[in-house]
Amino acid sequence: VKSGVTQLGWPSQLSDLFVGIFIILAVGTDLLRQRTRRSA
């Protein structure tokens, strides 16, 4: 993520924002999967 942000010419501190978003996406996907399995 950090090298991608750098290559895009964005501020390097923006990488932490993406890290935060990825954490939420990853855990959110996991929660969704668990709920789908439970309701099935």
Partner: protein, 359 residues
């Protein structure tokens, strides 16, 4: 022939006084903290009087260090509210919220020319919105609080740095805010007691009174403690568990916003790393909450405990700074914080096992 007519006694024999005092010290966290404060101050004053410290550890010095107690106590209250809400409640993002809200407050008041009466509510509302995002993720979606607030910690910290281009705002208006944190003489008794930082009266005491009313006297406080103690029972009792928990995170955000205003005034500068530099503000706030008797499992915690824990940590740190030459003391402050946290956790375990918990 005599007949013993005395009814059989069912009461346990009274415990010896020493045993009762020990139980009070171990189970009443406020008693323990009060005792620890007396011991720490007495030892440090003795060391100061005998030349072991590099400066005088007296009441004037102790009073001046309360300037650091204000943000720590406010963030300790924020952690109390979210931890009490239960289900692993914790807020790792308070420091990042302080940074981000501080920059937004700095832009509004220091660059856009907003008046103070508009910029401060903006900071509080922004803090509430950021806390609301945490609350939505934890209470509505069901994210573990540790993960959700870790993610928002990264996001808020990043945004604070990006929107400010890593540059602090220290315009004249912001520098003038320093007067909010200066020391003042207390009327009537000012000749007998040291000057006290103004922030204690303008930030800490009002927040303490409001929180005491909300948590100790209001229905929201009862709901919060009920939800934190047993959310299943609270749900069956018809309490809005998710809403109650979400409001705890919003309150944490509002308190962080207030700390952002205070820290901006204290440093006469809105800094993008105000709440995240070094070890940040979140870990000391969590330490103070746990030391103050807040049960990490939720449902238990008192404002007075957090307040006393803050005073203990601040006065202990003030003594450690004076013990070492140069900046070496700051490293030992971290060690002291860690040791105190471990001891508090051990004590919690001991009292839970032997006396059914801390009160």
């Amino acid at each position: 022939m005599s007949v013993d007519t005395a009814p059989p006694t069912t009461q346990k024999p009274a415990a010896p006084r020493a045993s009762r005092i020990l139980e009070a010290v171990l189970t009443q966290r406020i008693v323990l903290l009060g005792l620890l404060i007396v011991v720490v101050v007495a030892v440090l004053m003795y060391m100061s009087a005998n030349g072991y410290l590099t400066g005088a550890y007296d009441f004037d010095y102790m009073s001046s260090t309360l300037i650091d107690a204000v943000p720590l106590a406010l963030l300790g209250f924020a952690e109390l509210v979210v931890i009490v809400s239960g289900r692993g409640g914790i807020d790792l993002s308070v420091g990042a919220m302080v940074s981000l809200v501080g920059m937004i407050f700095g832009f509004a008041y220091g660059q856009w020319g907003w008046p103070l009466w508009a910029a401060v509510p903006l900071a509080l509302v922004t803090g509430g919105v950021l806390g609301g995002i945490n609350g939505f993720l934890v209470a509505r979606i069901g994210f573990p609080a540790l993960i959700a607030t870790l993610a928002t910690y990264y996001a808020y910290k990043s945004l604070a740095l990006v929107i400010s281009d890593q540059k602090p705002i220290n315009s004249t208006q912001i520098q003038d805010l320093y007067s909010l944190t200066g020391s003042v003489r207390i009327p009537l008794i000012g000749d007998y007691v040291p000057d006290v930082p103004l922030g204690v009266f303008t930030f800490l005491v009002p927040v303490l009174v409001i929180l005491w009313l909300v948590l100790g006297r209001g229905t929201y406080g009862r709901r919060l403690y009920a939800v934190g103690t047993n959310d299943t029972a609270a749900r069956w009792a018809g309490l809005g568990v998710a809403g109650t928990r979400m409001r705890a995170y919003i309150l944490s955000g509002v308190l962080s916003g207030l700390v952002a205003v205070y820290v901006t005034a204290e440093f006469a500068s809105a800094r993008p790393d105000a709440g995240t530099s070094g070890n940040g503000l979140a870990l000391p706030a969590i330490t103070i909450a746990v030391l103050g008797g807040v049960a990490i499992t939720g449902g238990i915690g008192r404002l007075a405990g957090v307040l006393l824990a803050t005073v203990l940590i601040v006065w202990l740190n003030a003594g450690i700074i004076l013990y070492f030459e140069g900046n070496a003391g700051t490293q030992f402050q971290l060690l002291a914080l860690g040791v105190v946290l471990i001891l508090a956790a051990l004590l919690n375990g001991l009292t839970t096992g032997r006396f059914r918990g801390t009160h």
